[in-house]
């Protein structure tokens, strides 16, 4: 079991002639939630897309459970990597259960139908995301937080070793954000690996085992939150003055950005 679930090795990606990512390397292991942090435009979303094979690598490789993603079919990738998008077109009146069941698509053959295991996975995913009571509701009638849980449940039902999340909390209020990350944390603890792009540094520090700080397409710093979130790295990455302290409630690093006329002593 020495092989990590996800191995990104010296990955470079060019899109439309300009380099988006250069020489990015990191791994994610079973039971590990890795946070991608960094300023807007640092390449977090592109990195997630490259991991699931939606964009091709210019150099380097991405391997999930030892399989190089670029060599896999969509179906094979779909059995290894599940993605929770920032938002999705859920504006069709599919029921919650139907929407979650779509996560089983990579597991069902062209002429097959859902079997007992598929149904069971869907029911478990609905239960995990506390959606069982909503199973027959049309997704169009759900609130933003409930819709986010449908996307999570769909990814859970996909039953993959690797879970990718693109800003899973971006459109949620603080209560739903915490619930969402608790949910992710619990499925990761059951033995999956997850990579999440999270712009809220405090949430990232609190929930992730390790952080990868991206700036301009390169890894500036990677490691446990304490080592990644420092005044120096934040200044370099975000071009912002910030104070890092320890949150007395959660015991995780707390980042406080300063405006130009504030000094660290006032905080």
């Amino acid at each position: 079991m020495s092989e990590p679930v996800l191995a990104v090795d010296q990955l470079s990606v060019d899109l439309g002639g300009s380099g988006i990512l250069s020489d990015v390397s990191f791994t994610a292991d079973r039971g590990e939630l890795v946070g991608l942090v960094g300023p807007n435009g640092a390449g977090k979303t592109t990195l997630l897309r490259a991991i699931r094979g939606s964009v091709g690598a210019t150099q380097g490789r991405v391997a999930v459970e030892g399989n190089e993603v670029s060599a896999l079919s969509a179906r094979q990738t779909g059995r290894l990597v599940a993605t929770v998008p920032q938002e999705t077109r859920l504006s069709f009146s599919f029921s919650v259960e139907e929407a979650v069941a779509m996560g089983r698509n990579p597991h069902i053959g062209r002429f097959g139908t859902a079997d007992e295991e598929d149904r069971q996975q869907v029911q478990e995913a609905l239960a995990d995301a506390s959606l069982s009571a909503f199973a027959d509701r049309p997704v169009t009638e759900l609130s933003g937080g409930e819709r986010q849980r449908v996307l999570l449940a769909r990814a859970f039902a996909q039953d993959t070793p690797l879970l990718l999340l693109d800003e899973p909390t971006a459109n949620l209020d603080i209560n739903h954000a915490i619930n969402t990350l608790d949910l992710v944390r619990s499925v990761v603890d059951e033995g999956r690996a997850a990579v999440a792009a999270i712009h809220d540094l405090n949430l990232a520090a609190r929930y992730c085992d390790r952080l990868v700080l991206l700036t301009e397409g390169s890894v500036l710093e990677a490691g446990v939150p304490d080592s990644v979130l420092t005044t120096e790295t934040l200044e370099a990455a975000f071009d912002a003055r910030a104070v890092v302290s320890t949150d007395p409630t959660t015991d995780s690093p707390r980042v406080t950005a300063l405006s130009d006329h504030e000094s660290a002593d006032e905080i």
Binding site: R52, A74, T77, V81, R89, F92, S95, T113
Partner: protein, 365 residues
Amino acid sequence: MDARQRAVGWSIWLAAVLGVSITVSAGIGPVSIHPLAVVKVLLNAVSVPTGIELTGSSIGNALQLPAPAIRWQSPFAYSVDTTYKTIVMRVRLPRILLAAVVGFALAAAGTVMQGFFRNPMADPSIIGVSSGAAAGAVAFLVVPVAVPFGLGLQGAAFIGALLAAFGVYAIATEGGRTPIATLLLAGVAIQAFLGAVIAFLQLHSGDGLRQVVHWLMGHLGNAGWDDVTVTLLTVPVLFGILLAYARDLNVLLLGEEAAHGLGVEVERTKRLLLAVSAVLTAAAVAVSGVIGFVGLIVPHMVRLVVGPDHRVLLPAAALAGASFLVLTDTIARAGATEIPVGIVTAALGAPFFLYLLRSREVHEL
């Protein structure tokens, strides 16, 4: 309930509706025939293979070769007026069955195109198929030199349809990718261009104008058993392919990137769905002319009832389309003077659709 069970349930129900529609329609016309008599005529026409026998066939006088032949037997022999038999079997049934197959094909292709383009205004002609067929047919009728290879009117329309669809696809494809928005716009542009071609040809059609207008408005009047046989052989096969991709079509509704993440080879699936829908539409339009609204409105009406899951929606919409066109064509030919069925589908379909739209508060796909 399971999607497959729901699909089978709706299909049985709608197939029964189609059966009743066909029977009733076959009794309506200048000579009114009681539905029971129609049923008897139809049952008499049923024959089942009961075995294989060897018949001696001779080549010249020298060789005697045994050749296998299937023995057919008609299990029913009701006594019916032979006039009724002739009217039903020779005159009405070919036309009714053609209406059923054309309606089936147009509704199926329309359902796929609406899902494919994620656009409620999409219909089977959106990638230029109908315009291409019309241009081919009108060119055949107007330009005398446009008769190579002994192609008939249907052949010219079919080829025009496929050329237009392929042209739209080729224009919209770059580097192996076909963005849906580009495809939509290319389709609109090609339709406009072909519209100009058709209008120009009409201006110079002289005595053929009546025939051209008749074709453009959609017609099933000249249906013969040949047309029925050809479409009955092609349409079910194409429909089967679409049905096999119903689940992928559901997933594609989530957007292309999400679909890829859920195991769908997006570009390959899109190519296949486009090609099959185009051929399906072309086969229908070639024999019937441009019949509007069936492929646009029937999928919407059925979606309001059975929901958006294509595994259920696709067969249900196709069968409903078949009944819809059988009934509208019956109205088209029932009056004192026959009117093109395209007028009836639009005149009846549009208000009914507007009623559904208002009463069900459904405004999206």
